[in-house]
């Protein structure tokens, strides 16, 4: 049986080009790893939807199963899982994150 929260996640990542599942909100992150990814996305200048998993226990566990990834944060771009904090950080530093957003046709306001 499919977890009912999977449908919500599927819709969220389909309707929003960039979605960050995180602890806390973009304005008040409640975890250092989530805060770092928010900082990177802000620096790159890409609009994103932040989803606070701490507000919903089913989502908090469901997103780990959905992605097959044991930790939060998790970044999705155009419905595809990109990675957690380490991967986003590495991709930002190497320029791959900016290249990925460009390739997916997602406008960014800053060339970092």
């Amino acid at each position: 049986m499919t977890n009912p929260v999977f449908e919500r996640i599927e819709n969220e990542i389909k309707e929003n080009p960039v979605v960050l599942y995180m602890k806390g909100t973009p304005v008040f992150p409640q975890c250092g790893f989530s805060a770092r990814v928010v900082q990177i996305l802000s620096h790159v200048g890409v609009p994103f939807k932040g989803v606070n998993v701490l507000e919903d226990m089913e989502l908090r566990e469901g997103i780990k199963q959905f992605t097959n990834w044991p930790t939060i944060p998790q970044l999705y771009v155009k419905g595809e899982f990109v990675g957690g904090c380490d991967i986003v950080m590495e991709m930002y530093q190497s320029g791959e994150l900016q290249a990925l957003l460009k390739e997916k046709g997602i406008p960014t306001s800053a060339e970092a």
């Binding site: 975890c31 250092g32 790893f33 990834w69 044991p70 930790t71 990675g83 957690g84 380490d86």
Partner: protein, 93 residues
């Protein structure tokens, strides 16, 4: 009794026999945060340099490491920072 850091190192070394494995316990830096436990052993930084990662995406490498460490995630491991490189990427080629 082994520490979690030792178990993490041993499990990764067994899964990636020719790898260089380094494990650092960062739990003290997160004391008092959500996910931290009074007894520690919650936050780690792990580096694995292995030729097995060649041709694997970043996500695939991490999933391979997560799979090896699933029992630790099931028993209180809260945060894991991973650096997973081939010897070439690590500049040891």
């Amino acid at each position: 009794m082994q520490t979690r850091a030792e178990r993490i190192r041993d499990a990764l070394q067994a899964a990636f026999p020719s790898a260089e494995v380094r494990v650092q316990d960062d739990s003290h830096r997160h004391a008092g945060h959500a996910g931290a436990r009074p007894e520690g052993e919650t936050h780690y930084t792990v580096e694995v340099v292995s030729p097995a990662f060649a041709g694997m995406s970043r996500v695939a490498r991490s999933r391979a490491a997560h799979a090896v460490l699933a029992p630790e995630f099931g028993s209180g491991l809260h945060a894991l920072s991973l650096r997973l490189l081939t010897p070439e990427e690590a500049g040891r080629g």
